[in-house]
Symmetry: D3
Subunit: 289 residues, 6 copies
């Protein structure tokens, strides 16, 4: 009796999932794997779980690009090296010494850890920075922030070549300006810009919240599905935390240029990626145009 | 609380299924859709459910060939036309008039019904007979059975061409001998021969039993997984019904020439194909070499 | 002396024929093989001769599609099953029982006979119905004719795939509407619609008359070559028999959408296909735009 | 009545010819167009007729290479320039001045005339010498013949490239040795060597006789079809004229390395090429292995 | 010390040359190899040096077409054959006898010598005339010049096919009119027309002067680089010799239809081709649009 | 006068260089860009010069892979972080903290600097580590050296994919073992292993010496060209410095598995790469098998 119910339930999940697998075969997903997600406790397990989901997506024919930042780890290494930071409007000023550390941590520590976790399962991840083969061109973001860059353009050729070979690019958010000067850039913004340049089917932010709330902190106000118009209205409301703003702006920008949908998920929940992508009900917030 | 369990359970089914989807991408499955399965009550619903499963398999990159017979329907049409049948050793003698009816029913009634049910969902099925483009070459099976044929050879070129185009061949088991004479052939045998010629990953019999039993009619003796050696031992035992014998012999033959595994499933259980293929535990009997 | 004349004559035929072979290499011909042609006496011989011509055309690089009906044989089988027919305006009303028989006869009897005759010479024919892979979409022709369909659209993809593989599709004129309901359709109309969808070089009707007469029954008034304008004028005249009307309308429609020429030939004359195609003078009536 | 016989006769020629057209589609024929054929009266008409046949063969998918010599015309130009010739064993000694004239006549007079005649019908002929792109490598034939060469090797790459583009190479029989020195070579031998290097289906000599006679000058002893063994026996007999010997030796050599058949035809008979190739009975002598 | 300077100098030349090699990879150069260049003393050495340069260009990925005339050699052969020439306005009238000689000399003497010289180094040259595969279509130039042709059109297909195979076409300037009549054509004009039809990167004239002078015979007035406008002004000035006029007009015409640049070089200076193409300063006169 | 000599000299260098450019078109060069070369004074200029040479090689069709280490910079960063090092047999023990720093410096500092310098000229460089897509598999080198790895295998697929796209992989010598643990590896060894896996035409070490000396410190004993046998003899002699030993052993290993030649050059001399590759005399030491 139990077994029969089990069969019914399994076939239900299967039929549901297979619909999405079919629909997304060959589609491109850009996934922002957040600094916060990495820095929470149980980091190692979360990374392994994330790697499993990414390899699974790739193995059923989805073209995955991972974008990551690394704020907390940069701060930690600056501390170890005794490099003090100035802050302007709550943002860290990135002088030459800070930039050197940021680049070392992003390219030399976080990126190879994500690449390594994926490649333990299947040797398909390739670490990249925005400086590789002209991938991201930046300029100074301005203000007094120093070497904090803003995206001028994304040349998706290198990503397309690697995706066509069945590989998973993992992009660290350091890039160069026209003079060859390196800059650190906000990873949420980079993810949106890459999704736009690739006309991705999905732009997914893995965060440490369940999604977007219409009336935070009322957890029952979690929004399952919304659209650009509604999201734009929410942007000014107190329900949206500061850290969420670049994500939501990037979502809107990406939807504007043709990305199919944007998602805010809780990266701490195991397999949240699969549950969001392969079930009707999903697990976080989905935004469509 | 309930939702969390639900998520866990769903992600469990997903992870399990995705493993198989990945493994079987590009693999070929030959599925015998049985006369018995068709003739049972709720025939129409069962056919629609079967068509859904077949289209789903195809849409996740599995190359599916369907083979069907049609004993009961042939008998019915012979009755309507007042054509009496002789039986030898329990088998119907196929004289010229009987053959004409068998061909009409298989090619002109059952085959277009299966093709039509699939094409209602996605226009990918193509009806074939063994006489198309030299697909199956037969000779007289002998005895006094008349135009009952035995498979001499299978030329898989036509199937490969259609599979390469993303189409689903649906094969009715009528074929020609060297002189152009038509014969009716046992569909279980044809399914095994085609699976062998295609070096299929799976040969699947959809029947009206749950699988093979080691000690029939003790239903708790259902065998989940066995191998050629054990199956060969079982073949002579009273636990194997007469109608099952051509299936099991075809399984053994197909495994011998390189087919990956053979399966006996209950076609009456909705989505039994998906449950057998995409879950660890399966639903029927799986035979490996 | 005789031999020299022979050489001159042979080289004359050769030079003439080679011109057409060169011109038609890679061209597509849609040939309607008529119910009347099949049902005349010496049917078997005529079918073998037709099969030879078709294989010859294919072997010199012409892409051939055969379309067939089967009115007389359907009537015969209805009689054997004791199914009475109603007639409206001289046309048989196709109720559910009649449709079942029509489909069985077309797909299960006539189609495999034509396919078998060709495949005896070279295994290149593949039997199709309009329901295969979405080939023909129909709707009810209306009136009180029941399941008599009219062509809504032809999707030539399946034909093109088979032609590209060097195969000869043989199409029986049963097809499905959007709801999956089967219909019988006039084979002359189907041939014209397929020729149009394929932008065929030639649409050829094999009939039991020599061609079109400007003043029937004066046999000396046989028209060798005419054009759409002249043909349209003839359509209302008493010189055109009722059975010829759907053919001629289909010719006009096909020429309208880009088919190169349409031909009415006597299928009873051995090798009439070759004589029409490969000689300057031809053998029947050719209509150009 | 007459017309019916005409149809029968035409369809007979057609069926016969179509068999050969089918068989030779994509096959390579090397045709030696003889100096004697060119120098006979009505030269211009014969060349036009030859060009028509060659273009016709090419247009039905046969890959044609033409090889030509030009003995008589070289002699004439030597006379005009007042260059006397020495003869050794009946062969003209080719000193430096003679070679210069031979090359001018072959490459600058005969070759462009043949190329021009073909290109008047279809712009597909390309004039070549053995010195182009390393086509033919020669060495001195020895004796006291001066710059008379013997074929060391044929590199068919250039021919294959042109044939693959649907072009007809017309080869003049001048070639270079390893030091870059030019030589004149016997055209019959070159034709055989090229046929061998291309593994041609046919090597055809157009001459001014009807074929090979078993008992010359008894014209009734013309051999229609023979094989290597019989031909080798004939080689020493008085029935074989001196001028025929290099042809027959080249035939034997070509058959030895895999050429399908060799033919000796009368180039003076209009369309003899077509009659030999596309009729069962042929017109000259065919030699098989 | 010497060696260090040597290294500096070598690396300077290398860096300079590599820039051009990179830029011209895959580009097409049409090189007119002049009658005068060939007829000067040391002819053989000059031809070998020219062949080396051409093979070198080809080997670094430049697609080279050589065009040549042969005025002096034609005159010499006419003399040997005692064929007197009439002159109209300083130009030789080309009657039928003269044309025959011109064709023999161009196709049968000069062309194979150039082809042979190149093929001694690498077997990549193929001799062509304008009559091959419809390469050049001409009409009578008019006046009373007889068979002197003017270019009506160039069909670059044959050249493109050979260039795509890595071969070097060497074109003799004889071509046919629509009726198949041969004509001799000015080689400077042909070179320009071919460069235009190929949208060549460069059109290069190898002559027996260093380049264009603004104030001939003042050798210090050699122009290194100029443009169409300036060149057009110069055309009427006494500084331009008569023999240079067709070259300069062809340069202007070629630049007009998209050729990148035109060059007038001294073909007598060893490796002048390489020095012009691969150094910043060049060696002759370069004209751009 | 001066100019004429200049032309002669330039054409001499050109002819010499073009020979090598032709020969190496499509060939693969693996270039070890040494830690010492980077750390010398005028580092920035040297890197720009190196980048120019690499881009130049790539632009003339040579497939370049750059491998780099970074010993001095790792030492400096360890110092800044106050991490003391133990030494065993003169080699630094790499504990977990040291490895973290090594990885950060190699992947996050040196690699992006090299990549950035190249991409300033042309956006073709892509930074890689041995952990990307399974490029290098290592195991512990053993002794008490901790996370110092030795190469187990190189999978050249990722390199080949990037090279096929015209990109220049720049490889930092960090890699993973089967358990996913990272290791630092000797860059000289990695360069040799990659050259071997790619069957490279050349393996080039850019160092801070002019080449190999047969009798160091006698600078006049610089070896221009030698072979494996002679090099093996030299290996034990006092003329070979310790730091040179892994290079020479890697040279021998690479030559053994099919690399065409190995080179030791002075990376401090501007354009030493071009001078070694494109001149007959070269600039450093070349070792052939």
């Amino acid at each position: 009796m139990v077994e029969f119910n089990d069969a019914l339930l399994k076939s239900g999940v299967l039929i549901e999932a297979l619909t999405y697998i079919r629909r997304f075969h060959g589609a491109t997903f850009v996934i922002k794997y957040g600094g916060n997600a990495i820095s929470d406790s149980d980091e190692k397990d979360a990374l392994v779980s994330f790697a499993k989901d990414v390899v699974t997506l790739s193995s059923v024919g989805i073209r995955v690009v991972v974008v990551h930042g690394g704020g907390p780890q940069i701060g930690e290494m600056l501390g170890r090296l005794g490099i003090a930071s100035q802050f302007v409007g709550g943002l860290r000023v990135t002088d030459s010494a800070t930039l050197e550390v940021a680049r070392m941590v992003l390219l030399g520590k976080i990126n190879p850890e994500i690449v390594g976790a994926i490649n333990q399962l299947a040797p398909v991840a390739v670490g990249l920075s925005g400086g590789d083969a002209g991938l991201i061109n930046v300029s100074a973001a301005g203000g007094d922030l120093g070497f904090v860059g803003q995206v001028e353009s994304v040349d998706p050729q290198l990503l397309l070549k690697l995706l066509n070979e069945g590989l998973i690019p993992v992009v660290a958010t350091v890039a160069l300006d026209d003079s060859g000067q390196a800059y650190n850039i906000n990873a949420d913004t980079v993810a949106g810009a890459i999704a736009g340049a690739l006309r991705a089917e999905k732009l997914i932010y893995l965060t440490n919240v369940e999604g977007i709330y219409s009336n935070y902190p009322d957890l029952s106000s979690l929004i399952r599905r919304t659209d650009s118009v509604e999201l734009a209205k929410l942007l000014g409301s107190p329900s949206i935390a500061d850290g969420m703003i670049p994500k939501l702006k990037s979502c809107l920008g990406a939807l504007e240029v043709g990305v199919g949908s944007a998602h805010i998920l809780d990266g701490r929940l195991e397999h949240s990626l699969l549950l969001e992508i392969f079930t009707d009900y999903g697990i976080g917030t989905m935004v469509v145009k």
